[in-house]
Subunit: 188 residues, 6 copies
């Protein structure tokens, strides 16, 4: 249903990757897709999408993150946010496979009150886009954070691949559910 | 954002409750709402909404369940299924507050491979409807099941109330997220 | 993208087949699908979907037709009619492979002023449905008609299979087109 | 239903015409509309909308084309692509009036394996836009092409006018079809 | 844009007229349309569409009303309610031409605290439907009411025709407005 | 349902305020909102949104206006225009409280043939936006105009606050209406 790829090369995420067709132009995946990659993350205020963060001048920095960029070719922002939530839940559930207890608040994940993630979902004229970053290392991050390394996730690529696989299955199940239920007649 | 109520009286759920305006007609909550109640659950094949279950002649029975009926006045079935998934996740996360490890597969919850839940989401001409049932007791259920009682949830009403409170917060956060993000300009 | 099947058994089409999940219940194809089958066609006024025909008391009869039933799990009737038109065009273009000149007027196909087809597209609470019937034999039809047999299409199954294959490709190309175009910026 | 105009003056098409309200600003047609005009076509890579062509550096050139620009004030890109396909089919069917055998593959038209057309459909914040160009002359085109002149279409304006007339009728028939069909009740 | 007709014959309105294609089947207007007619109005509880009225057992009765039935072939109930409000406003503004001061509260009109109108908007699988009834005479109505007769509207047909004319103009202006505005670029 | 604020400070309106999130960035109201403020209005042609005005080079000027900016986080322009119309009607009805007879034509208000208002509704990638300006003073306006001052509205803030209050109630009633009506079954 969606195409996925775990990139081998590191990419520094500065916000300019959250762009329509960035996945297609750079990696050739045409259609709904998720790309994962590792890299430093630094998003300055002028590239920040969450205006509450912009107001509070909370830029984003992490020395090394596992990043997911998802693009869905549908412009319904509300639906995109539901998808972002489910992708976040998929990550939480993957961490639970490693017996790591994770707390989710909206689109944020916490481990022992340390913030593990950053995320945003937004829309363009042709698609909606999601970014999720999970700290791998946490040195120099502006808040109390948690990182995948210290949580014992050593094979980041395998972890990311499983997340994308499960997200794909989740979307397929949703699509099947849509096709297999009877509608409900009007009340008498 | 949504109205919620935990009913005091027991109601036997037989599928006829999954009807547009059942909440409004019976409990007076006008608009998007969730109602929780305890009761025996028996849904015969002619009332089953999931056609895969109908094909496999898997009727639903549980001696006592905590039931949630949610109605959203929007007819987008795909969106309703996303909401059903998030309500399921909310239940899972509430169980985690009791240090109960829960596995979610689509819209099913499992504890130690025992099936805790039944659920379906569907649409009518005016709204979408969700039913979720969580076993309280499990005697006589057709499969290996888990029940809230044996998991140590003694105050079912408090549990249900927290689930509805958190679901409401989840939807509010989604709405806020929709209103606070910049759109993304077209690629250069 | 869509699932297709050419049925071996003959089925008499009387309008009751144009029903949500008829394909899934009977042939197990879950999701957007097209089914083709051969059979007599007789639709009485009370089962007719086109109200203009109902007003003019034009029931439908053909001794033997190649029938297509398509179901798309989306409730946008306008989109369904566009799809019906494209499925009709696909049939016309398949006939052109046999060097048969076909004239299309909306959702009707004509060969030498003989009416080859009947068709309708409609919606239910959960999906949209399309029926297309192409005369194989024409004895006893109420109008001047054309039939696939007299046009030299001997292998009806192969013909139907190609139509469904091409319709599937058409929909895939449309989906790809949606994902590969830049949006247009606002005028300066 | 839609407004149409065949322009008398030649216009060089370089991609900048595919812009919201270009038709209204220049020719005063307010609302859904199609404009046809003759002119040289040269679209450089930075103005190309199809990103597959951009990746493969396939710019567009034709010494003289019959161009159609259609604008529909609806932002559903998928619907726009269906409309583009139907406009393409309308052109093919108009050519068939001249006994010219045309092969359509998605949004491309071929005569004797010569490419007759270029086309794209895309969306802006307020509307969707379609461009179709049909070679009139073919000297200097980058591929094996076909042209209206060599196919014997001498009165290009009459040809274009008929295409727009038939496209308008097609859309009217679709609208009527939407209004005259009964919905389908839920399965029993 | 919409078709309208003022019927010459009286029709008793009992709620069964608020049905998809009632206008097309009975009066032959295909597409979005408004029909006006005069007649007694009696809607029993089982035909009432407004469930708040059903709960409060407020059936509808008027010895003679000017009735409008509007059908729009679009299934968005929210949009239908906006249209109902604008049709109500159109009636109020038409009354103002007769120097009658009218107070509107949602979809109710009052003159000197007498209720002039009943109204409801609802949806089916294929369309949305609006009913508005304006008292002509008021004898035997269950509440304090006002009637067109006592307000000095003697030519009911002319009044109704003007309302439908102005509603049509209103919808045309809305459509034009949609087509003539620039979209707004993203904030810098 | 919506958040509203009457600003104390004057703001010159030059069109740059009609921007997504202008309300949130400047006044902290997150979500659907209306802001009212007083100020000079001068919109030059390059900032004008209505292209008919742009074509006719009709810039906007008023020495002092009561301005409303509304933002709804939904991108359906047609719906936005219905909302603009209802906000206009709300203003008209508020003026009627002062026994001022107002004539509305689409989105324009007139008192004694003097134009009281300017207005436009448009869309961005994330929201729709409405501007309405009501003349307070009229010196130097390009047309025959009417102003709130000369109409006897001395407390502009109170007037604006009531308009926003009533608009909010209007939207709440529409939402309730959507949730309390039965759908209509298919015709037999």
């Amino acid at each position: 249903m969606i195409k996925t790829i775990m990139l081998k090369e590191q990419i520094k995420y500065d916000g300019s990757q959250l762009q329509p067709h960035w996945i297609y132009r750079n990696f050739g995946l045409l259609g709904d897709a998720v790309v994962a990659f590792i890299g430093e993350v630094q998003v300055n205020l002028d590239k920040m999408v969450d205006l509450t963060d912009v107001k509070e001048k909370e830029h984003i920095y992490s020395p090394l993150m596992l990043n997911f960029i998802a693009e869905h070719f549908n412009t319904d922002l509300e639906l995109a946010i539901y998808r972002q939530r489910l992708l976040m839940v998929t990550i939480k559930e993957q961490l639970e496979q490693y017996e790591i207890a994770v707390k989710r608040v909206g689109d944020d994940l916490y481990v022992d009150r340390g913030k593990l993630s950053v995320s945003v979902a937004t829309s363009s004229v042709v698609s909606t886009l999601i970014h999720i970053g999970l700290n791998i290392e946490t040195e120099g991050t502006p808040l109390k954070t948690a990182g995948l390394r210290e949580l014992g996730i050593s094979d980041i690529s395998a972890f990311a691949t499983n997340v994308m696989l499960n997200y794909n299955r989740e979307l397929e199940r949703i699509n099947e559910a849509r096709c297999k239920v009877r509608g409900i007649p009007l009340e008498g």
